[in-house]
Amino acid sequence: MTKAVLKTRELSVKFGGVTAVNKVTIEAHENELVGLIGPNGAGKTTLFNLLTGVYKPTSGEVVIDDGDQLVNINQLPPYKRAQLGIARTFQNIRLFKSRTVVENVLIAMTAKNRPYVVQAMLRTPSFYKKEAQNREKALSLLEIFGMTNVADELANNLPYGQQRRLEIVRALATTPKILFLDEPAAGMNPQETQALTELIKQIQVQFKITIVLIEHDMNLVMAVSERLYVLEYGKVLATGTPKEIQNNPAVIKAYLGEEG
């Protein structure tokens, strides 16, 4: 088995009296595609928010593999975690709506690039050169996802499916090691979901990154995941390959059962 790039140890968070995530210990390996499923309110998105730093845990810890050493990222704010290679998309789309598609991607590249404020102020030739290079990079990323034709459209004017796709491209533009996808198929029609399934597989192969996926669409999640965690009431109920999960009696009772 390849090495783990992300681990949590007994991660918990309480809001008021409610324990939304309760002693969750999970791990994701290099270039692995991990699915995270569970009924509504099981704490999946809360877990994502703990991993990406939007919430701070009440107890437990989050550790990532940064090169050769393990780094405890418990206290890091989201932007520092992103700089360490954690990227995500959101359940409710969060694009920079007043910006164009290519600008959305360029913004995602800001943190990794050295700023060139002085050149920008003076509009030196090197400023234009760097801008052109960055735009080229952004466009080539968009090209992989077939979005160059809409590069100069406002993000707000894209159709829904394209907006979701752009969020993924934007996350990838931060050159992450781990990509968290929060219900990427939500609101998509079957054709769009099919295309998304291919896309996720393609990303895993082409970018060689770890992907953690929350998804309610069982066809999608079973098709792409190598390993699944099932969450219920903030706890890990089971883990295993899609086949194991599908045959796990506890899971069937708790989760698949209710779907019929």
């Binding site: 990406t52 939007v54 704010p77 989201p78 932007y79 520092k80 992103a82 700089q83 990227a87 995500r88 959101f90 969060r94 694009l95 920079f96 709506k97 007043s98 910006r99 600008e103 360029l106 913004i107 995602a108 590249m109 800001t110 943190a111 990794k112 690039n113 700023p115 060139y116 404020v117 920008a120 102020m121 003076l122 509009r123 030739p125 400023f127 234009y128 960055n134 100069d152 459209e153 406002l154 707000n156 004017n157 934007r170 996350a171 533009a173 931060t174």
Partner: protein, 324 residues
């Protein structure tokens, strides 16, 4: 720099030059008298302050009501330095000192308060501005409520025009750079920006500090032009005056700010004819403009020479004004 960029830059430069020549010619033929000159200078000073505030409110989306405080810092820096070193050199130094001081205060204030959202930030910045004013009113060195008189004059319209153009260039160049993109990203969606590795506080502070620096320069110019400063010049109403320019022009539109600063300056001249009804008419105009153009003159879009001169139709920027 490719050909297109040279072309646009040259056309803006030409427009600027034409305005300069126009003012010169009009002064020569006596169309612009001393009163007109005062109006032009005051328009320029408001413009510099408003461009700075638009960076804070429009670009970074932080609602600040404290611009007057930063103008006061610049004004008093100039007043104090120029009265003891009454040379052009002293004046230039005083603008730098005011700008740096104002920037430092903005940095100290901004780091903790820019976490606050919306109206809470507005009231906190208002508070900071009032605290600055009250300190000025009570310090010996700033000569209390009476203020400082007989400040040597080093400001003419050329100086203000030059600095006005410079501040527009600085802000526009910043906005259209990676830094500016990050600032706008934080405005559009703070949580998303942070998830992409953008240090949101840092970019809010950059905009806030630059805004404060421009306010201080405007304040310094004003002090030397009017030749007196007093704490009464920098009340909450001064912040509001600048805010109105920004909102009427269109929040986030620098060209809107420029056009509105000029329009309001001219309106002020026209309103002189109304005597004591002046402010009443101004208030009515303000309400009516807002009722009929709530997104401001230009919304979020920019006046573009490129579109006017070089494009034939195909106006894909139109969508931008809608959501402003």
């Amino acid at each position: 720099m490719d050909k297109a960029h040279i072309k646009y830059t040259l056309s803006w430069a030409t427009l600027t030059l034409m305005i300069i020549i126009l003012i010169f010619v009009m002064t020569m033929f006596g169309i612009i008298g001393p009163y007109g000159m005062t109006t032009i200078v005051l328009i320029g000073i408001n413009l510099i302050a408003a461009v700075g505030l638009n960076l804070v409110i429009g670009m970074s989306g932080q609602f600040s009501l404290g611009h007057a405080g930063f103008m006061a810092i610049g004004a008093y820096a100039t007043a104090l330095i120029v009265t003891s070193v009454p040379t052009i050199f002293g004046f230039i130094i005083s603008l730098f000192v005011g700008a740096i001081l104002s920037g430092i205060v903005a940095l100290i204030v901004g780091i903790p308060t820019l976490r606050l959202r919306g109206d809470y930030l507005a009231i906190a910045t208002l508070g900071v501005s009032e605290i600055i004013r009250i300190l000025i009113m009570n310090f010996k060195i700033t000569r209390g409520p009476a203020g400082i008189f007989a400040i040597p004059a080093f400001v003419n319209w050329q100086v203000v025009f030059g600095l006005g153009v410079l501040s527009i260039i600085i802000v526009v160049n910043l906005v259209r750079s990676p830094t500016g993109r990050a600032i706008i990203a934080v405005r559009d969606n703070e949580i998303a920006a942070e998830s992409l590795g953008i240090n949101t506080t840092k970019y809010k502070v950059i905009a806030f500090v630059l805004g404060a620096i421009l306010a201080a320069i405007a304040g310094g110019l004003r002090a030397s032009f009017i030749q007196s400063v007093s704490p009464q010049d920098f009340t909450f109403m001064q912040s509001i005056t600048i805010l109105i320019i920004v909102v009427l022009g269109g929040i986030g539109s620098i060209s809107g700010t420029v056009l509105t600063a000029v329009a309001l300056g001219i309106l002020d001249v026209v309103l002189q004819n109304f005597g004591s009804l002046r402010m009443v008419v101004y208030a009515v105009v303000l309400i009516i403009v807002m009722l009929f153009r709530p997104q401001g003159l230009l919304g979020r879009s920019e006046f573009s020479l490129k579109k006017m001169l070089f494009d034939s139709g195909g106006d894909h920027d139109k969508g931008r004004s809608k959501d402003a």
